[in-house]
Structure formats: structure tokens, C-alpha cells
Symmetry: D4
Subunit: 248 residues, 8 copies
């Protein structure tokens, strides 16, 4: 949907021939720009509230730069890129202002948004090795304007570390629980708080963790209520959903 | 924590020797009643906002009745029982007023709460065979006072059925997407709405669905943002979480 | 090794031509009685400290009775039978004095040994549905003369129930942690105590528990030290090992 | 079957002692050339309609060159090589005219066939990262003389991108749906068109995609009719089958 | 889309304001009837060429009868029901004329269509035990007007049985290869014919067949070209796709 | 190949126009009788040395009787039927003389062959519960004229029971090792003998045996040389192969 | 718990207002030091008997050095680091006295404790390739003051090597059985000794060992009593638990 | 057992106080040399007919050289080493005469045995990529004195290549069938021959071959009799077993 079409539609809304609801629904379903190798959803901000995000894995650095440039030139102020390799980040940097965190492989091209510091999202990890995934969640949530509290290395084998932070947890509007190995963190936190818990299994561990399967199954079978699960190592998904819930 | 202890604590709050926050955190961590075969969390309403729920599978009918009776006599007005077999429901009925839905195997002992009809939770299924799981979610959400819209049999192989209901979806505060087989419903809905989507894989199907594994993996790998997943056939978990989010 | 051979060996020990250690090792390796369908290890009490136990699953009731009768007539005072179906128990009862617990399907033929009440083994479960497996462990440990404390329904989603029993746990010489679903109980207990924890995953749950796989993987990946794991639903193995450790 | 034998057989057909059908069936079952490490099916064009294709993975560059040279010198005009590494392609180039596409690792030795542009095969992908597999399918189908329309990055999380191309899909004689992650593309397209849909799961994704398992199971469980599935990342197989159907 | 809307649209096509292609695409995306528990796709014959089929598993007999009756009263002449249990078939028979094959659990309500006997679909099985799945495919293909040749019990351990039928296979326009256990039938046939082969793995077998997994993986990894795979035991899907290809 | 054709071929052999080897190879590839639901390989005795065997699972009792009758009337003296249910056995008995062993579900229709008692095949089991599978192997091997020694309940947890029978094992020409659970029997025997060991994993056990997977993987990974493996619970396959090797 | 709080608590114990048991339990649950990326459990020696151990995998060398330095400066005399890569070991060495074993990747920073040589732990391996894991167990057990006997390369395919060491095994208080491939070592040893056996599956092997799954399942299904299992390749866990049991 | 002990035993046999059978069984169970990291089974030639073989994977080059040297200096004339990396082969070459085949990674240290060319073992592969595994089998069988016929690239998708070699197969005493992908080769050959078929699944392939699982399951489920299976890529095991059977 280009500007003219949008204008026409809005005129129809104005003169009453189209109801606002109908217009909204039409706007929601249509537009994208076609680069051949990618169809960029430039109006996703209208339809789903947040701009499209680029998943960097499996794309060439040229493709990533092409998409970022197209979006910035379309008026999008900043573009979040996840799973951005250091090589691709270096390649982008030559032309485009970019914030890059090498631990979580998060990149933000264009203007980094100023945090509005809304609500309180607590992001907890079982161990130190889970921090890269947790930071993917944290930086994503901060990108969307949320206040994030980090509570790292509070795994259940020393559960007093969690209880010592009970007040921090009690104040959370959403908790993101990031853990590998046995993944029990989500269940224990789920039993302590009365807000949604987003569980992120990680591939941290070895042997019978089978690439994160142990934590994944553990979290899916949580006996605590209010817990749901995203993909193994999917920090972005958890941060995005936490932001969505925090803004309700 | 018995009444006297609670009284004493509240007196200390009143006279300032204990801050309300400290008191809250103490109350949150303690009490349950011990029946030997079960430790009933009678103050869970204080700690987590909702009363304890009984998971009926794997418990004898005598155990279920014992727990229900204990809770009702402790002042809880109604008790939700999930996975309640018809046999156990019949056994309870002889002594206790109970609402029972045989499709979803949900039972509500005591007074069925009047719906407050808050917000709007849309519960969608891919097919007719997914309805029992969807009803477990729907009745749970209604039990906790939410307004629920049912949108059944809108699987992605006839995706126009979904688009025809785009406005209903657009009005949702939370969507619960219940699907077996390829479980694609969650992704398609996730791309249409700007609210959290709770995906419930079901064991509906045969052959390479491997008891729900196909839908589970599909939903965990959703390329749509804002989607999280609960256990296979876990309607209750989805309904509970949807309610929690809806009330934020 | 028949009596004569044993006599000869012991004479050699007496006159010093064979050391007691050498004799012990020879006695340990040899004897059994052959019923055709079973080779009964009648001297296992000598070699491994405890008499042979009958695993009832997959044996006909006639085979079980045959083995029990043979052992009792060989001078064994009591025989432990696990996974003994009610049908087989009834069949045995007609001829043989037997204690039978239908919940755990444990049978004890002959004289039930009097408990010596040694040490303290704590057997904890995540939920009520795990009790049959826990009782298999408890009755086994009691059969071998240990004192057993039952701590049932203390799953991690209400972890205060565990902490309330911290002293009981602190007094344990061994803990058996029995849990299905996410199986996190073993890790949390493992972080609280300084004694061995034997983790028993159960098949309790549904969907992505895949018959106990979720709890099994969770327990194998425990980040707590001092935790080891037995087969899914293997209460007997846990009880036996707990007894062995308790007696050290 | 050497030339003399073929001549003799055809003479028998001519004089009526052998029916053409019998002759055809004999010719179909026999000949190949034996290089020791490979038995080249030089008459496959007779038996199955298309010349033998070389699967490059797991073969040394010397083996590949040997087979290609043998086929070209046997009168085959062009040879399709799949999974041809850049190193092997370079090695072939020194002696043999070759077209090579590094994205899909497709090589065509000898004369590249001129497209006959028959029918219309639409090849769609869920995302940009699926393009290498899609190109393997597309180049294969073009090699066999089919017209191919590429429709890339139309995944179900922005399903309006698909609907915007509904006419292109409606004109297809066959659709190849290439997708990783949740693999829902095949089902949605399957519900939109009335022609065969060949689903190609890809290994694109991470975590619980388990190397393409999520998309594979999703596609096998498709609730849309007319969908069948080939191996993970098997672009060649899909392109070959699409061509076979398109020519019917 | 109701009749008025359809009329209006067709008028616009007539007066040239809407092209026939646009009209077609609009008609394709819309209509269904909503029974609450099912949304019946009454215009699927327009959109996808064949009427909607009822998958009987997981539906109550009342639901099945409700859907069948609704379709018949909407003018559909015959309704195919798959996985129809004998109980449900008996329940339908009391009111509705129905053809029922208990081996394949296929039911056809209303008028059984007369075969047009188009083309030639060969349906082959590895063994006698695969026949129920093969008949599901065969009856489906016949329902849609195709000529079907049955070639049962020609598994690869006696591969001469296949070669003896080489002419039958050579005449096929499509082959459906139905096999459990090692599932090699599809590969061997795939190497003999020059038409599409639809492979149907079955759950026939025991032990390491893991419910059909062995045949499924075998067929997905077929080294023969032109082979694609449907779900385990999915005879209907294979028959439907075979018909679709046969009609091209 | 009918009698006339066979006569003609043999005449050609006699007069030297066809070598015996060529004739043998032609006879090997051809004949079977077609019952529609089964193609009976009546000349398999010529081609593979032993008559065709009927796998009873998944066949109706009518089909089994049909095949047995056809074979007996074709001159086969006795027919081996595996996995023959008691119901089917009863059904056959009314018309056909049959030997039936309910433990192993082996049936022998017609004249039970007299044992030739060739060589020595030792069949060992880990436990009593593995005996049904072992008997399937033993009766099969005896049917083909081999001498079988049964060595049951010699599992590795009491390995002295094996060593006590070292001489019996040393005399074996082939050993069949049947075990469930950890399946270690095959490795231990494999290290003791210098003849082929055929390992048969069984589904005996529970929990993490996953239907026989534990024993299967254990046996496939045996560090002993000379061990090969057949399907889980495939006693027939082991007995047949043992016979084949014993006769070399 | 800071010093003042600890002082106060001890005063209460002294004057009798708090029992020693209550004090002990309070001290056990609280303290750790927070480095942001890690929460160091400095009082774990009080709570669980042994100081915290650093799991080196997934931590940067800077993080490891930070934690080690913090612990040493807090008065801990020596720090055990497992899975310490050679690179990280080199990095630590520049500042901190460290013992490092490159085979097992065990590092001990600070003063290496003098062995007290308590009891007797036998550590056995199936093969030479299992030694790195066995050494992780052995060095861990020695670090905690136990006497360790190494019995390497005694796999079950040459079981006489085990029996030749029967006396060594008979003297053990605990046995650690380390094996890959079929993992049968644990069962055979379990049947020979009357002390606990800790089974460590290793990832040694190829093909159907699936990264250690074969040995893991084999050990979990051991038919010998007294056997429990830790994670694949978890030498540390086995050594720690063996020490805990040995000290009882 | 050292020489003196062996001498004494043989004297006892000579004078009749020990029977030859008893002596044989004693010699079979005992001796090995202990290098600490390996216990070399120097008398395995006596006990099992063939000398011990070194599995090179997971051993350091120094360990391999140590074992080889020890064996050669103990009088063994040649030592077979499997999975010998080129680096380790180079390291051995500096001191020890060695034959090395880099394709199969087979090394033979000392004198390469002269072939006795006994019997006829046919080794067939599905494709060219399976040759390295096939050569491991072939060189092993030749090392033990067997005649080997190689029949490579005869996969079932061009099954006429197999039939063209029917006579070669008919002459085999044992067939080794090596195949990846769908692994159907074993079944087809199994149906053509009347001798044992040893199936070797390979990891050749991609996607849903899951590292060789597809071929493994296919071969285990073979409907042909006389087929048994070894581990994925285990060419040595197949060659060893084929030799053992060929010598019967």
C-alpha cells in the first residue's frame, strides 16, 4: 500500500463510506517492499505495533545491509538485527551507524532508541554461561522501551540466591527465566511470583542435555502455573514477548 | 502460618516494627496444610493471586475428594479440578456440589464463580478434534473471570476462515491457539495480531505427529514474534496464563 | 560350590594355606540353583550382602511361585518381590504367607523382617501421583532394616514446603528424590543437603514428558553435586542403593 | 546392452518376433558402464526419461571428473551435478566447460540446455535463508526445461505477502514450498491452490528445529491435501519431481 | 460469500469492471458454513477442485453426522469420510445412505460417484499387512474418478515379484508405494518407472520400526528421483495426490 | 515358471545349450502364486534354500489359513507361521494339523519336521522374561533341523552363571544372545567365544528401556567382535540366521 | 548474612534463645558474594561440606580468573576448576599458582590439598579412550582426600581382565565405572561387588552410540542392584559423589 | 598366564590329571599384559582365534605405538589398526613397517599377511560414497585370509545393476551390504541369496538420514531373512564377522 492508496482509503474513512474498523483491517493485511531475496514488511509497525526485526543468521552480510538500508531509507529510525555475526557487524559499520554487543550478537542500526524505562522486567539466569542468551533478551526488551533488571547466576542448586532476591522478583511485571542443564529455574520462580514467566531453555551443558533438549522438556513440563516456553536459546523471542506483556 | 501468627505479624506492621513489604514476603513463603499424601497450599491465593488447583490425573478418587473437602472446609469457595475422570466426578458428586464438563474433564467443586467477563481472550483451534483441549483452556479462563471468545476449526489449510474473523482477533487481548498435526495456526495468528499468543500443541493426529511432537516443535520454531508455548494438551496452563496476562 | 568344596576351602583357610580374603573371593563368584527358566542365586547374600530379589514383571505367576518356594525351602527367610501384580499376589497367597502392598506392588513372602530402624533415609516426592514409586523405594529400604521418613508432595513450584522441612532433610544420611514432570526436585534438594541424593524420575505427567524422559534428562543434568540417577519409576533400585549407602 | 545387442533386438522388433513393448522393457532394465567406483547408468534417459545426475557430496573431485568425462564422451550433452563444492567446481573447470552457481552448489557440465519454458512451477520460500535450497530446486527444474517463478520470503508470519501473490499461485501447475523453522508454508499454500505442492523442509533455524526435524514433521502432518514431502534440504529432489509432474 | 454477493461480482465481471481472474481469486478465498464445532468449506469444490473431506478420527459420531447432513443438504452429492469407525458408520447408516469399507475405514455418504476410470494409478504394497492403508488410497482415488490397479505383496525381499509386473508399472501415470518395515519398495519402484511415485510409510512391523519411523526415514532418504512422501499410514493423502497428478 | 517352461529349460541344460549355472539363476528369479492379497513364493526353497515363512501379525486368520492351505496343497510339507495369535491358531486347528506353542506364538502346520540335530546352537537369555523371544528362535532353529541348547537366565549381573557354562558355550557353532534392559549379554558372550554371536534385543524392561531401544543400542555398540544384531524381539530372524550359519 | 548478623545469631545461641540446630539451618541457607556475572557461594563449605567448584566450560577466561581470585582472597585455600581449557589455564597461570592436568582438563588453583588417602575408591574404565573422563573423576576424588585405585581398560569383551582384579574390587568402598559404547561395565561390576557403583557413560564410540546415549541407556537399565548413573562424560560428578559416600 | 604356568598345565594334560577340555577352558580365560593405559590381550589368538585388533580412534599416537610395539615384541607377527588417522600412521611409520590405506584408515603393522584367498565374500555398496566403509570391511576380511569380491555402486534405485551381477552374488558364502540413505540394499540382496548377509548402515546422506539412523532402522527392519546388522560405519565389524562365518 503506497501513500496515495493510503490517502484514498483515509478519505473514504473521513467521508463515512468506509468505517475506521474496515480501514484498519485493510491496512493491517497488506504492504511490504520486495527486494527479491526479501519482502520487507515496512508497515508492520502499523499492524503489529513494532517494526520488523532482522534475523541475521543464514543471511549474507550483503543481504543484511541491503535490508537495513532499505528500511532506514523508508523512514524507519532504528533497526534491530539479531544473531549478527561480528563479521557482518564490521561490514555494516563502514556505512551505517550501529550499536553492537558482541556477547549477545545484537546490533541496532540507526538511532538507538532512548529507553522509556517502562514497568519492570526481571531477567534471571541459572548460571554464568547462560548470560549471552539473557543479554539477547535484555537488550531486546530495552530496545522496546522497557526497564530491565538482571539477576544472573541464581540457579536452583543454590536456591537461597533466589530467595535473597524475592523482593526484586515480587516487583516484576514479567520474569524471563533463562537456564540450560536441568532448566528448573523457571519452575521455582513460577512458584514464587504472580506474574507471567517466560522460560528460555539454553543449549548450555553437555552430554544428556542433547543441545538444550533437557531444559526444554523440563520447562514444558513445569508444574508451576503461569509459565510458557520459547525456543532453545531464543533470547529475542522472550524479550519481545516480555515487552508486549509489560505494555498491556 | 496460622491465624495467631498472621495476627501478630499484622500488629507488627501496624505499629511500624515490620514494613508491609517484609510482611508480604513472609506471608508469601510459608503456609500449607499437610494431609500426608498432599500438602495443600491454602494461602496460594495470597501468594500467587489464585487458589491452588487440583490436577486430577494420577490421584485416586479418594485423594481428590479428601483435598477438595479440606479446601472447602478451609474457606475456599470453589475448587478447580482438571483431568477429572467421569468416575471420580461421579464419586465427588455424591457429597459435594460440582459442575462437570465431560468433554474437557474440568470439574468445579463448590460455588461456580460468576464470570466478571473481563477483557477478551480468543481461543482458536485448528480443527474439531482439538476442541476438548480448547475447552479446558476456555473453562479455566472463564473460571478466573475472563470473557472468552471461541473460534473453532480455523486451521491453516483453509486460511480464509481465519481472515474472515480478523476483527475478532484484532480485538483480543490474548489469543490461545490450539492445534495438533502441523500446528501452524499459532504462527499465522502470531503474524496477524499485536497481542501475546499462547500456543497449545495437541496430540491430535497420527503417524509422524508422534503424540504431539510435530505441533510442539512447529510452535517452538514459530517465526512469528509474541508466541510462546505450553505442554502438549495443556489447556489448563494456557487458560491460566491467558487470564494472568489479561488482568495486567 | 557344594558343601564339600566349601568345607575343603574353609579347612584350607583354617590351616593357613589359603588366606580368608582369597577364600571370600572364591565363594563370591560361584553358586546358583537352576530351575530351567531361572537360575536362582542362592548365595547372593554371601556375595553381595543381600538376598536375591524377584522382579515380578514379565514372569508368569507360576514362575514366581516356583522361585519363591525354591528360595524359602533353601532356607531364605523372606523374599522380596517387586512389580507383583494383584493377580500374582493372590495366586501366591493361597500357599505362602505374604505381605502385599497394592499401591507399590511390593510383596514380601515368608517372614517380614523386623525393622532395625538404622540411620535415616528421607524419601521425598514432587507430587501425590509420585507416591506409588516412592513407596516402592520406602518399603524396599524398610525391608532391609532402614528407618525411612516420608516427605510427600513437596514439588518445586511451592518450594517453601521443602524449606519448612529443612531440618528433616538436614538429618538425612541419604535422600531419595522422586519426581515426574520437570523433575527439578532432585536439584533443589541437592543444593540443600550434604549427603547423597538418589534421583528417581517418574513417568507421571503427559505430553512432552514422553514417558518420563523430561524428568530423566532434568535429573541427569542436575547442576547440584552429589546427585545420581536410576531408571524411570525404579523405586526398588533407589531404595536398595539408599540402604547400601546408609549402612556404610 | 552393447550396440550389437541393441541392433539385434531392434531387428527382432522389425521382423515381428518381438513386440515393441517387450523390447522397451528389456532395454529399460539393463545397461550401465562400470568405472569400478561407480556404475554409470548411461541409458537412464531411455528408462526413466532423464539422464543420470551426479550427487557430488561424498565423492572426491577426481571421481566426479571421471564420471562427468565418461558421460560426456558417451554422447550425453550436459550433466547435472548437485552438491558440488567450490573446490570440485574449480577442479572441473580446468578441463570441462561448466556452469556453476555457488549459492545452490549446482553445476552443469557440457552444454547448458536451453530452457523450453514449459508450464509454470512456482518455488516459494518462507525466508531469505531458505534461498540456497530453493535455488537448487529452481535450477534443477530449469535444467529440465520448465518455466520457474520465484516467490521468496513469504513465510506465514506475514501471510498477506502470500495472498498478494495469490494469482501467481493460482496459475501454477506445481508449487514447491521451501521452509525451515515451523515449516507451515506448505500447509497454507496447500489450502490455497488446486495443484500438487511439493514440500521441502530446510535445516534453517536453531535450537528445537533439531536440524530440520521441526519443519519435516510439520510438513508430513499437513492438514492440507495435495502436499507431499521430500528430504530435508533436498532441493534437487523437489525440482526433479516438479518437472516430472509439470510434463504430464 | 452469499448468493447476492456472488451475483454482484459476476455482474461486474460481465460488464468488464472486474476481470474474470480477479473474480476467481475472490471467490476462492471466502466461504464456509459455521456449525460452531466445525466450519464447513462448502465452496472448496470451487477453490480447490474437490469437495471437503471429513477426517473421522477424533470427532464424535454426532459431529460427523452433523457435518455430513449439512453438506448433503447444501447440495453436495457425496461426502467422503476417512477413518470412520464401525460404530460411527452404524450410527450414520440409520439415516443416511452410506457405502462403508471396514478394512480401510472409508465411508462414502450420499451417492457413490460412478468411476470415470481415467488414467492408471498403480497402488503397490510391500506385504499383506499393508493392505488396509493401500485400500484407503485406492478407494479415495476411485472416488475421484481414477482407474486403480492393485499390486499387493510385492516387497523387495522377493523383488522378482515386482519385475514380473514391470509392464503394469510401466503403464502407470502415478504409482503409490505402500510399505512398512524397511520401506524399500518406494526406492526400487522409483528406479523402475518414469512417473511420480508417492510413498506411504506404514506402521506395520514391530520393535525398531518405532511406529513407522523406519519406513518413513527410509522413504525420505530414497536415492531414487521422483519419489515424495506423505505421513505414516496416510492412504487418503496419497490417493488424493495421485488423483490430482493423474488429472493433469 | 510353470512345469513346461521348467522342462524346456532343463532340456536345454541337458543338450548343453544352457549351462547349469545359467539355468539355476533363471529358476531363482521367477515364480510365485498370486492370491490377490498375497503373492506366495512357492519356489523359495529352490532360490533361498528354505520355504517361505508366514509372518502372522497383521494378517487376518482367514488370510493365514488361505496361504497355509495353498502352500500345503502345492506340495510343501510343513509351513512355519510366526506371531500366530491363539485365536488364529484355534481357527487353523479346525481344518489343518498344527503344532502350536503359545509362549513363543510359533505354529507349524502340516507335518512337523523331524529334527536332524545338526551342529550346536546355544540360545542364551539374560532373564526369565526374555524366554518367549528365545523360544521363537529355538523353535525356528529346531524346525530347520538344528540341535539347540537352551541357556536361560544368565544375565551379566551374575556373570558367574555364564562362566559356569563356559564349556557349553565353547562347543557352540553359533550363539544367539537374547536380552532386554541393558543388553550386555551379547558383549560378554562375544568376548568368550570364537563363533558368531547373533544378538536379539528384547523389549523386556520399563522406563528408559524405551521399548527395547536400550538393549538395541547396547548391542549395536558392542565392543566384542563377531556380534551382529537383529530387530527387537525378532527371535525368528535370529533362529533362521543361526540355522543358515550352522549349516555352512 | 554479614558478620554482624552472624555475631547476633551466635549470641542468641549462646544465651539459649536460639537452639544450635536452628542457627545451623539459618546459616546454611544464605550467603554468597555477587560479582554480577556470578554469585559465589562462599559459605558452601558450611552448608554442603565442600567448597564451591567452578565449571569452566562456557565461561570466559576473565570470568574464571575473577571468580578464582575472589575465592582465594576470601580465604578459600584451593579452588577446583573443571573443564578448564588449556588456554584458560595458561591465562590463570600468569598470576595464580595452579596445578593443571591437560588430559582431564582439571585445574586446582591455590594450594593443592594433601591427600588424606581415606578409604578406597576404585575407578574402572572399559577402554583406553575413556581415561580422560576417568581421570576427571580420579583427580576430583583425590582432591577431596580419598585414596583412588585406577583399573583401566577392563571392558566386558575380555571379562577375565575384570575377574583378575576381583580382589581389588572386593576391597572397594565405592566403584566408579566409566564406559562408552555399550556401557556394560557397570552391570558386570555391579554384580560382583557389594558396594555402591557410580556409572559414568562416556561419549566414546561412533555411529549408533549417538553421543553417549547407548551407554547412558544401558547403564540406566542395569539389572544389577546398587548402580546409579550421572550425566554422560561427567567425571567430576562421579568423583564428588564417590567421595561423599566414601566419607560416610 | 606365563610360560611356566602354561608348561605346567600342559604337563598335567599330558599325564592325564587334567583333561584337554579343562586345559583349553583355563587358557581361554586368563592372560593379558598391562601397560597401565591398556591391558593387551596377548593370548586372544588362543581364546578367540584371531589376535587383538587396535581401535585407533580416541587413542593418542603414543598409546597406539606403545601397544603395537608391545604386541610385535611379544611375537605377534602383524597388528591390525582401525580408524588410524594419517597423523598417527605417519608417527608409526618412523619406527615400524606399516601398510596404510588412507581411504579406509586401515593400518597393518609388521608383516602384512599373505592372503589365503579362502571362500568368497562379496562386499557390495549402494553408492560411491559408501566405499570407505566398504574398504574397511574388505581389507579386514583380506587380512584374515579371505577372498573378497568388490561390487560397488549397485544401489536399489537402479536395481538392474544388482541383477546383472546375480551370479557373483550366487557364488558368495557371505555378503556384506554397505549402504547409507535408505539402506534398502541389504533387503534386496537378502531376497536374492541363500547365504548370510551382514548389513552395514553408513552415515552417508543428509537431512533426515540423521547420521545413519535411516539406514540403520531400515536394515534392522529388513523383511528378508538371513540379514543381521552391525553399527553404523562399522566396516571392521562386518569384515571380521564375514571372515568368521566364511571359515566355518
Amino acid at each position: 500500500m503506497n501513500k496515495e492508496e493510503l490517502q484514498a482509503l483515509l478519505n473514504e474513512v473521513k467521508d463515512g463510506s468506509v468505517s475506521p474498523e474496515e480501514a484498519m483491517s485493510k491496512i493491517k493485511l497488506m504492504p511490504y517492499d520486495d527486494l527479491g531475496y526479501a519482502k520487507i514488511d515496512t508497515h508492520r509497525g502499523v499492524r503489529q505495533g513494532e517494526n520488523e526485526v532482522i534475523y541475521g543468521a543464514g543471511k549474507t552480510k550483503e543481504q543484511i545491509k541491503g535490508i537495513v538500508n532499505h528500511m532506514l531509507s523508508s523512514g524507519v529510525k532504528s533497526v534491530l538485527v539479531t544473531r549478527l555475526s561480528p563479521e557482518s557487524a564490521d561490514y555494516l559499520k563502514t556505512d551505517i551507524p550501529i550499536f553492537y554487543d558482541s556477547l549477545s550478537q545484537i546490533g541496532i542500526a540507526g538511532e538507538k532508541p532512548e529507553g522509556t524505562n517502562r514497568g519492570n522486567i526481571v531477567i534471571a539466569t541459572g548460571g554464568t554461561s547462560d548470560i549471552p542468551v539473557a543479554e539477547e533478551a535484555a537488550l531486546t526488551a530495552e530496545y522496546y522501551g522497557n526497564k530491565v533488571s538482571r539477576l544472573y547466576d541464581v540457579g536452583v542448586s543454590g536456591v537461597h540466591r533466589l530467595f535473597d532476591n524475592a523482593e526484586l522478583l515480587a516487583d516484576a511485571r514479567v520474569v524471563v527465566a533463562v537456564a540450560g542443564m536441568e532448566g528448573a529455574l523457571a519452575s521455582v520462580i513460577g512458584g514464587m511470583v504472580d506474574c507471567p514467566v517466560i522460560a528460555v531453555p539454553t543449549s548450555v551443558g553437555y552430554g544428556a542435555n542433547f543441545g538444550g533438549l533437557s531444559a526444554l522438556l523440563s520447562m514444558l513440563n513445569s508444574c508451576a502455573s503461569g509459565v510458557s516456553v520459547v525456543n532453545i536459546d531464543n533470547g529475542f523471542g522472550a524479550g519481545y514477548l516480555a515487552s508486549m506483556i509489560n505494555k498491556m
